[in-house]
Symmetry: D2
Subunit: 143 residues, 4 copies
């Protein structure tokens, strides 16, 4: 199921491509898409009333265990782009987010991807995702 | 003359601190302030109807020749920060921008700085800043 | 087949983790692994007498079309890490590299991944990989 | 006094410019010079038997309070560059480093700069630099 046909909650974050994000090919360097995805997750958390900064403050982190990106078209300096973020899968100790990066003007999909995260405490041990956090995301994932 | 007392045009760009911009001290890594300044310049150009992307398209660049930053207080993940940008000095072949980075919530000044830029063409030769560009910035600098 | 049991050529690039590459979790931010992989490819090209900078100079680029990373253990500031890079698959218009990032001291595998690249010219059209380049990598891939 | 005529200890760190460090002007993005300087400091600490990672482990940090860079010539992808680092000034609570970034092949100076650092503990309070650290750097600064 694609983002477009899903009834899951999809959160959008929009911003301009920064000059520093380009490389000598004249386009956004591919590693920045993982940063864009991360900004998508931050926006997702903000909108669900569960800021990621709060989870960090509680002593937990969602450590990235896997990341995948498909690069479909280049992004350019100063273009307004939108990251669309949703929850693909959620379990007691892990969560998988899905993403689309879209050119805000043309609507063209520039990249898609997923990241899987494991909940860990400050000593790096795997832990259950705190209930209050989980609840928000379960509702979002079911749509 | 500080930004506060000047009658120069000051342009504001606001955005959230990204997780990737933090370092192991738990604060924004200092090199990112040069990227924040750059985003300030981009916003400045957009608001003056002279997008920097246009200057690039005309075959010119404003190569950075000097940069200074004073770091006054740390910035934290997810905080909304504002970059205030103004023109400090403008000449036929160079332009100097001034900056303040401010915590959007507390209003505390986190960093100040300047960057000086030389106009160069694609072969790297120093050139006069194109008139239509210069005009906008001269007006802005005089206030 | 893992890197360890393959008879493919494997190239190693070693460097210290930079402070700027860490994040507020106290470990290397995950997006940097794509930069580490890229540095692995650069070293691979250098050792095969086919520097990537030369391909760029000929007007070609290997645009990244897919990237995957598995994060197995965190990397820390100042640790010496080694990126092991090999060719997983090579075709007339595309090439897939495989990677392992290893802690240089403990030998622990920190991350594994693949990136797929499409050969494009300066106008973004898909092109055959130049013969002199292909030749080097075919030999390497066969082992 | 320039680095060349000083009898201060100067430490060199050499590495290839990474592709990700370039921007759409085809050269190293200027913010990366602060990262190069930092890598210069890390190498300086390693060579003086006082790894910066150790200072961090003791609960101290050298927070950057000022940074200046002059950009003299562009750096390019895959070029081997050398960062030359020395102590310009050292006091009980602060230390100032000086830098030159040099193209390893041509010997051309690409950039020069300084960074000033304040010793702080984990709660952000200004502290004296630990003696064992100070000692190493005082000897180095005097030459």
């Amino acid at each position: 199921m694609t983002a477009a046909t899903s009834n899951r909650k999809i959160v959008e974050a929009s911003f301009h491509v920064r000059f520093a994000e380009t490389d000598m090919m004249g386009i956004v360097h591919h590693a920045n898409y993982l940063v864009y995805f991360e900004e998508g997750r931050s926006e997702y958390s903000r909108q669900f009333g569960a800021p990621y900064a709060d989870l960090e403050a509680m002593g937990y982190s969602l450590a990235v265990s896997e990341a995948r990106v498909r690069f479909l078209a280049p992004a350019y300096y100063d273009h307004l782009i939108t990251v669309r973020t949703w929850v693909e899968d959620i379990r007691s100790r892990s969560i998988t987010f899905g993403y689309e990066v879209v050119d805000g003007t043309s609507g063209q999909v520039l990249a898609t991807g997923q990241t899987k995260h494991i909940c860990v405490d400050r000593s790096g041990h795997v832990r259950r995702i705190p209930k209050e956090w989980l609840k928000n995301f379960e509702v979002a994932a079911e749509g």
